[in-house]
Symmetry: C2
Subunit: 161 residues, 2 copies
């Protein structure tokens, strides 16, 4: 297996494991559990589902796959902390958006050639990328996988609430 | 920058960011906070610090760097759930072991040549590795970084307790 293909497999395996594990966790959690705070005074499950969905939806422009599906999520779930604006979304809507974003994203992720993963992401200029070639699309997926694990660890705490 | 070196940098940057971020969090949390459960009925901070320290100590044999520094941690913090055995360790001891393991580990991590990261880890036989070359040392570091982020997300919840 060529080097680049092997690297891409390592990162994509980790990404899919986290996404699928989180999907399974969300399927297991009830709506009532997702409405709870993960700890007293901290984010609610609903906010975290919206936050992860919005962040992953922003991968479309960042990885140059296209426009986000639900740009209206960013002001509520990325730019702002958990608050009353989150209550405009019911849990079923958030679950549906989670699924739609990951289904659409997966199509792009699976179709991208190994070599293209090592091209720059959208938040770095060509000139900077020449000096910093590690700031590529695959690196974005590494950091998003870690970010997802961080919040999945918190969402798991809802299963005993 | 050659492909392997670039990819190693991506993964090592992510590992160091998680380890350093967790160290900063532990420095900020008081002993009293670390003795709390991250959520009602779930792991205490002390267990999670011991768990992460023990798992990272096991990277010595897994990455073929040598023997673990504190093999006695595994039965308490890896093989068993949080319980009375954890109370044999005071918080200062756990903090010290966290530091010792990561200082020693860092020396090995920084010294390993890019090419050597793509050699097999210790839990896979040579014959299987020939068919599955993604099961290498660097892949272990990817999965441990994700595991660390998972528990760091939980430890963060202690900061408001």
């Amino acid at each position: 297996m060529p080097d680049q293909q092997r690297f891409v497999k390592m990162v994509l395996d980790a990404w899919h494991a986290q996404v699928n594990g989180t999907t399974a966790l969300l399927d297991k959690l009830t709506d009532a559990q997702l409405k709870q705070e993960v700890a007293t005074g901290r984010n609610r499950g609903t906010y975290l589902v919206g936050h992860l969905t919005a962040e992953h939806d922003l991968l479309f422009p960042l990885l140059r796959f296209g426009a986000p599906l639900f740009p209206e999520l960013k002001p509520v779930f990325v730019d702002a902390a958990d608050g009353p604006a989150v209550d405009a979304y019911d849990v079923a809507q958030l679950r549906a958006r989670w699924t739609q974003v990951h289904t659409a994203l997966n199509t792009h992720v699976m179709a991208l050639a190994a070599n293209d993963w090592f091209m720059r992401h959208n938040n770095i200029a060509e000139t900077d990328f020449a000096r910093e070639p590690h700031r590529n699309r695959l690196n974005v997926l590494i950091t998003r996988t870690i970010h997802l694990a961080h919040h999945r660890g918190q969402l798991m705490l809802l299963s005993s609430k």
